[in-house]
Symmetry: C2
Subunit: 190 residues, 2 copies
């Protein structure tokens, strides 16, 4: 059995992450999957439905990774480093963040998708905030700034680095930025 729906989601994700939401069409997707354009509507009646499914699947994958990281890595900076590694894959494949691609379209983006994207980021912010707070408590993360502030700073840096280093096809530079970011989160004793 070939799971057409999954294939559609996979190819659509690649298209959106590579060219933006407005920048891909059902025709592109049909060609990528090897199915007729109209058949896509059977699985995803409208483009917004597809977009929402894309965000849901993307968020679910991230959520699983976040749980794993928290279980597998004990300290704050290590967890943030692992979180940053999740973005690195995008740089290596030349794909940006799905939600960044959607977010950039701002006012033109269907309301529903804008909400989904905001929810995605809010989830990450909540996870980061918890991780950073724990790190401050156990002493692995520098105290001072509020965890909520640090969380926004972390996600901004990684989203920005992904945007930049995908353009320059420079995974090493991404890793450099990640290292500076993580290092800056440790308690300062130099």
């Amino acid at each position: 059995m070939r799971d057409t729906r999954a294939e559609l989601l996979s190819q659509a994700e690649t298209l959106v992450r590579g060219r933006g939401y407005a920048g891909f069409s059902y025709a592109d997707l049909a060609e990528a999957v090897g199915i007729r354009k109209a058949s896509i509507h059977h699985h995803f009646p409208t483009k917004v439905d597809l977009g929402a499914a894309l965000v849901a699947a993307y968020a679910a994958r991230y959520d699983a990774a976040l749980v794993t990281i928290r279980a597998a890595v004990p300290d704050g900076p290590g967890r943030i480093a692992s979180y940053g590694q999740l973005y690195l894959g995008g740089v290596e494949q030349g794909l940006g963040c799905l939600c960044a691609a959607l977010a950039i379209e701002g006012e033109a983006l269907p309301e529903r998708l804008r909400g989904d994207v905001a929810t995605f980021f809010e989830g990450h912010l909540a996870w980061l905030e918890a991780v950073l707070r724990e790190g401050q408590v156990d002493g692995s993360v520098r105290s001072g700034p509020e965890p909520a502030v640090l969380a926004r700073y972390v996600i901004a840096t990684l989203e920005g680095a992904l945007l930049m280093e995908r353009l320059f096809a420079n995974p090493a530079a991404f890793s450099g930025t990640l290292a500076v970011l993580v290092d800056g989160l440790r308690p300062q004793t130099r």
Copy 2:
């Protein structure tokens, strides 16, 4: 006299920064400026021509600001803070970075524009690198990481913060991230 060309550039910039390059059309622009669609082609024969003019004008405005900052602010962190303030305007107006909007479209973006966008970022990276190097020399910026690495980290953080905080319409959060960023650049003595 009304400078139609300038008006076209201004409105087009707002459109691209608000909805992406693929997300706006000559029809949208015509309506925004109060001119017929075909007349736009008189000023900008193709959409790529318009896009390139947009990037050129945007880059020129930034370049002027960079020169001013370097002349008016003496220390490294102060200069980076001023640089970050340039992005804040976008958050407040609900507009993203023009070049980020273009960059996100990646492979779908006409070759020429991709080159122009890369040049834009390279110029900023060069400026940041020089500023950070000077800061390390005069002791206002922490030593350790290479200026080139720090430059990429700075621009990534600001581009990412603009992306995020525009979505959340949260200029205060942008300022929070900027503060963490700038603070982290100072020589650490806590």
